[in-house]
Amino acid sequence: MRDVPLLIIGAGPAGLSAAYRAAEAGCDVLLLERAKKIGGQLVKQTHKFFGSEKQFASTRGIHIVDILAGRTKDLPGKVEILTDATVLGIYEDGVVTADIAGTIEKIRPQAVIVATGAYERTLAFPGNDLPGVYGAGAVQTLMNEYGIKPGDQVLMVGAGNIGLIVSYQLMQAGVKVKAVIDAADRIGGYLVHASKIRRAGVPILVRHTVEAALGDSEVEQAVIVEIDDEWQPIKETRQVLDVDVICVAVGLSPLADLLYQAGAKSFYISPLGGHVPLRDQNMMTTLENIYIAGDVAGIEEASSAMVEGELAGVAAAQKLGYETPDTDQLKESCLAELRQLRAGPTGGKIRTGLALAGVYS
């Protein structure tokens, strides 16, 4: 049994930011990451980040990992980062079990920050399980982590930021993107991303859905169709595309399994991506000393995940008695940054969601 003041689960942008702020306040941190390397989804983000200077705007995600990890060194509190470490459960007696490189360990933390991120949603269409139908994250992993093309010709389903960015990344890797489609009646992602891939000759078709993946043992073709106001297919508009990959980028849902198991209260909040654990201003859930940050608290951009991580890190450390004269001011500035990031029209969905969750003022 290992006793630690603060356990952080997930070394993505939120978890790394939380570790930095907590250790800065003098709190020792154990940070567990399921993957073999830290950074979460940042390791696949070859594009430059939006946001402002504080969230490393204009730096590529792949480079932000090093910055975030570098910040956790030489602080008053010690940050121990373990990779290949999957948390199995947060149990009622406060014990957290983890599979650390194949060995089961038990950890007794005084506080926990859950920063487990999200998982990819999928779609139900005939043939949706054929090899070649991949989540956008999978395509990114193959290309940007392992340097492997997922195929030669891609249909992208989803014109949100992920769909647009991954389309762009596919083209950067030399893969042809046949079309980007989205069932909504507007492009969901940032329009600068859309313009960028339009310039490369990729059509974006709104009010279109994928009807089927065709192929005997792998994807050989995709059937797409325009939909009407009732979201019903207009059969005359059916098109068959020769593609070997159908990339599904239809959104993310918070990966909150550990929190449900532990008994945290949650609400189904559609604009935040699904069931979201409730939390207070300090990112603490309905369970004493269990905090959340990042996509697990509602799907947003990495920039807000980092700020939420910092907030949770400061707040959790403070709760455990690690405080500096700046603590309250730091929390205020995190909240102000979050308000800024969510202030514009593109933050409207997040604001609605957070209002439903009762956490946005």
Binding site: T122, D129, Y134, G135, A138, Y146, Q172, S217
Partner: protein
């Protein structure tokens, strides 16, 4: 080969080649590959067939969430090959049933 040789942003340094066996056939992957990435690089996307529907199976998430990429690795069934590191000489086989415990 589906490896990206040139990329405007990323560099993929040359890594040691690893030989492994897929359904008895020798294939090569690179150090740092997962079993699934090495198979993809070699053009193998059908990793097995579902035990009930017998439909072909590939991965969906590539990060260990969806459990759609189960294969028999060195005789052990139900290994998620998207997160299992490739090793020299590995015996990787398609799984078309629920798996037989070694």
């Amino acid at each position: 080969m589906n490896r990206i040789e040139h990329h405007p942003i990323l560099t993929f340094p040359e890594k040691r080649t690893l030989t492994f066996y897929f359904d008895g056939k020798a294939l090569s992957g690179k150090e740092g590959d997962t079993i699934a990435s090495a198979l993809h690089a070699a053009g193998v996307r059908v990793l097995g067939h579902h035990f009930k529907s017998h439909r072909p199976r590939g991965f969906y998430c590539a990060i260990g969430n969806c459990s759609s990429c189960l294969m028999v690795v060195n005789g052990v069934p139900n290994v998620r090959v998207c997160v299992e590191q490739l090793e020299e000489g590995m015996d990787v086989r398609s799984q078309n049933d629920k798996g037989v415990l070694p």
